[in-house]
């Protein structure tokens, strides 16, 4: 009886302890705090800058309405962030959480902890995904708050030219932001794989961002739609259909499928690599 229950309990303990250790380590990094602070403050700074200059970012979707509808602010911020800011914010942690142990030569120390290698991989990955999701949530909430508080609760002109009351726009804005979480997790998995493969944090952070930008360029070409949809960065635009008069959800479904495929393959490859590494093997 005890022989059967003990390992299970140990399993949970090891994972929890590993997670707690990773959170402590991460919370102590100035980069992580800076990124979180940026997510909270940047939308307010943007709105204030727009107000002072009276210019409008009219090349961004909803950019024409930044002075006349508060709901446009979170959508403008989302449109901008999907280009490179979200992958960059994500990879800042996930591209470093494994390779920093290489950099500081600390694999032997953390492997001496009472947790298995699998628990360590799961803990580090979970913390990276948690941090990435937290950044998205912070940006979504603060850009919505910045719009509603500094611009106002006016109705928004949707993508069909009709006015949408703020009670309709806010749930759609939050849904639009939520749709960026799947591709963000895909990019997190990509940077985990690259940082494990190269054992180098600048590569783990920089290369996924560059790949994301490359995918953006590629998505502008008149290729078959299926190829464009298969690019992870296209998923950041999946929300557009929500803001039309007759909303369509096809791109959101594709967003989920494409991101899940990237996530499973990249994280699976990362785990395969990590399991074969000598120092992680101990």
């Amino acid at each position: 009886m005890t022989a059967l229950t003990l390992p299970a309990r140990n399993h949970g303990h090891g994972l929890r302890r590993a997670c707690r250790a990773e959170i402590t380590k991460l919370a102590g990094q100035w980069r992580v705090r800076l990124a979180a602070a940026l997510c909270v403050l940047a939308p307010f700074v943007l709105v204030i800058a727009l107000k002072v200059q009276s210019t409008i970012p009219y090349d961004t979707l909803f950019g024409r309405w930044v002075h006349e509808s508060g709901s446009s602010i979170p959508l403008v911020v989302l449109g901008f962030c999907g280009q490179w800011a979200l992958p960059a914010l994500t990879c800042l942690v996930s591209g470093d959480i494994f390779s920093s142990e290489d950099h500081f030569g600390t694999w032997p120390t953390i492997l001496a902890r009472s947790c298995t290698r699998r628990q360590l991989f799961v803990a580090k990955s979970l913390i990276a995904f948690g941090d990435a999701t937290l950044n998205v949530v912070l940006l979504a909430l603060s850009s919505t708050a910045a719009g509603l508080l500094l611009v106002g609760r006016q109705p928004l002109v949707d993508l069909s030219g009709t006015l949408m009351p703020v009670s309709h726009t806010i749930p759609l804005v939050l849904a639009a932001w939520a749709s960026s979480i799947p591709p963000v997790l895909g990019f997190a998995a990509m940077s985990i794989l690259i940082s494990i493969a190269t054992r180098n944090s600048p590569t783990g952070i920089g290369v996924p961002v560059a790949i994301g930008l490359g995918m953006q360029l590629a998505s502008m070409a008149n290729w078959p739609d299926v190829l464009r949809v298969a690019l992870l960065s296209s998923s950041f635009n999946a929300w557009h259909g929500l803001l039309t008069g007759t909303p369509y959800y096809g791109p959101l479904v594709e967003d989920l499928i494409v991101s899940a495929v990237y996530f499973v393959f990249l994280l699976g490859a990362a785990y395969g690599l990590a399991a074969r590494r000598d120092e992680i093997r101990g």
Binding site: E68, H240, A269
Partner: protein, 155 residues
Amino acid sequence: MFRGRIALRAVAVGLALGALACTATGCSTTTITSARLNPAIQSTFANLYVLRLAKLGQPAVPAASFAARASCGRDAANRPGSGAGDDWICNIVWRTAGLGTTATAIYDLEVQTDGCYTADGDGPQEINGLRTMVTIDGDTVTNPLWQFNGCIEVT
């Protein structure tokens, strides 16, 4: 060694999935066509026209009463076209209020591969030439017809 093999396997699986999806969907090159853009553009324009009239303090009329008709094409000759690009041009004809006459506006369109477009007014000046307009209350606001965005579903 292992790393290379894993990467190769991943690429092979990716290509296979891509090919599968391609055959499943018929691998069409584009679903952005005049036939699909026209209705989207004309109804968005009519809705925004209603918005503009409201800002000018004119009595509310339903968007449908303008009977706006768009014809979009990919070159100056305005022939039907297809595909994403920034060389789309749309002529929009609508019924003007009361008089029983029609008016025409021109828009330059940039259509993205995901079906979202930016329409930029190219005349007449008093409809879509200026970024701002003055409302009945004397406020200067964005002219809804100056430029507008919209999206059509492409997949």
